[in-house]
């Protein structure tokens, strides 16, 4: 890929508290934020189904955010999906930094912003950190959910065979931790620990590529 030097202003915005009466998009955003916050609270209490629904919603939202942010920089569609996955991993590993008294949307966007800057750096761009904070309401996007992103795949191949097996059985094959534990002759707790460690490794490896 050509290395383009020079600045690029990321087009991400942060949520601003409404300054006038809520109308249209503003109201939608409030409702959406409230729903996300409720789901995240349930997820933090260990509710897997709520968490999965939240991550599904967020991935659609983030796809729009990242694509809009990278518009005009010549970032390939697969690369957008790589960044979306990096953001999802960061959301997962940093979810204890969300303050349940605050709306979830701005927190998600702050993480997305950080990872988009990393994503540009990794691709040889030097992003201007002065981020353009304009109003935006990004429609969710679905059409890429089925595209394979390469970064995570590459990182997966660096895991130990057993950990890779565990991650793939749970993610791609959709097995439960219980089933995987039975098949591998491990305890369910050990499988969960291995899964968690592997997810951390995935996130760390992304990070190393930036540095």
């Amino acid at each position: 890929m050509a290395r383009i030097q020079g600045g690029h202003v990321l087009n991400v915005t942060f949520y601003r508290p409404p300054t006038k009466l809520l109308e249209g998009a503003e109201l939608d955003r409030k409702t959406r934020d409230a729903e996300w916050s409720t789901l995240m609270r349930a997820a933090l209490a260990g509710d897997e189904a709520a968490y999965r629904k939240l991550l599904d919603d967020l991935s659609r939202f983030l796809r729009g955010v990242v694509r809009r942010g990278f518009a005009g920089v010549g970032i390939a569609r697969d690369d957008v999906e790589d960044v979306v996955q990096d953001v999802l991993l960061a959301i997962h590993l940093k979810r204890h930094t969300w303050d349940p008294a605050m709306p979830l949307g701005p927190w998600v966007l702050a993480i997305a912003r950080n990872k988009m800057i990393d994503g540009l750096r990794r691709r040889g761009r030097r992003p201007e950190v002065a981020i353009d904070l304009q109003q935006f309401d990004i429609e969710g996007e679905d059409q890429q959910a089925s595209i394979d992103a390469h970064d995570v795949q590459r990182v997966l191949s660096g895991l130990s065979e057993r950990n890779r097996d565990i991650v793939q059985s749970i993610s791609i094959d959709g097995h439960s931790a219980r089933d995987v534990a039975d098949r591998l002759g491990m305890t369910e707790v050990a499988v969960r620990v291995a899964l968690h460690r592997s997810l951390k490794t995935l996130a760390d490896t992304y990070q190393e590529k930036v540095e």
Partner: protein, 213 residues
């Protein structure tokens, strides 16, 4: 890997959530401060007339007003700075409360003591200890807070690290102030900042690399 598959893996890991970052930070400060306190008691300890001056000397008590206002404002800021969506904006001004009070104290001192004693008060007797003990006693809280911040997601790792440095120096300076017999605000303004600046710069340098996520 498809994003939907990744989501399945993340959802399966839902129960792995860490304690809230504010709680981790509070624990780190408590442990770090306790370690420094033990080190302080083992090395020098409070001055012999501590109980007496604590109840009779305004200058002595004022040292703690200054160091604690820095430590507390730095702690409140670090708690926010550990989150990605926190924008400090004007809250960084909290850090000027301690130095501001100190300037006020110096003005009072200038009005209440003759000017030919200013120099001696400023130089004091303990400058070497002051410059070495404050950084030394900072180390435990500094390491603990940086380690806790590593579990956070600071939007600006350099600033988060720098304020962690101020926080640790604030704790150290509070301990040191109970040992030091130089109570003039002129002495405090002359020598205490050495440790603060050192820890702040160190925090910014380490934070900018170690606290990225």
């Amino acid at each position: 890997m498809k994003t939907d598959d990744l989501i399945k893996a993340l959802a399966a890991d839902a129960k792995s959530v860490e304690p809230p970052i504010a709680r981790t930070l509070a624990a780190a400060v408590a442990v770090g401060a306790l370690l420094s306190l033990v080190l302080f008691l083992a090395m020098v300890g409070p001055r012999p007339d501590f109980a007496e001056v604590a109840s009779s000397s305004v200058r002595f008590v004022f040292k703690f007003v200054v160091t604690l206002s820095l430590a507390i404002s730095a702690f409140l800021l670090v708690r926010g700075l550990s989150r990605p969506d926190f924008k400090p904006d004007k809250r960084l001004w909290w850090l000027t409360l301690g130095p501001g009070l100190l300037l006020f104290g110096i003005a009072l001192e200038m009005m209440s003591v003759p000017s030919d004693t200013w120099h001696a008060r400023m130089i004091g007797h303990n400058s070497f200890y002051c410059m070495t003990l404050i950084p030394l006693l900072s180390l435990a809280p500094f390491a603990a807070v940086l380690y806790a911040l590593k579990a956070g997601a600071p939007a600006n790792p350099t600033i988060a690290g720098a304020v962690a440095g101020i926080l640790s120096a604030g704790i150290a300076a509070t301990l040191y102030a109970s040992h030091c017999t130089d109570d003039s605000p002129m002495f405090v303004a002359m020598w205490y900042p050495v440790g603060f600046v050192l820890m702040t710069v160190l925090g910014a340098l380490i934070g900018s690399r170690f606290l990225r996520w």
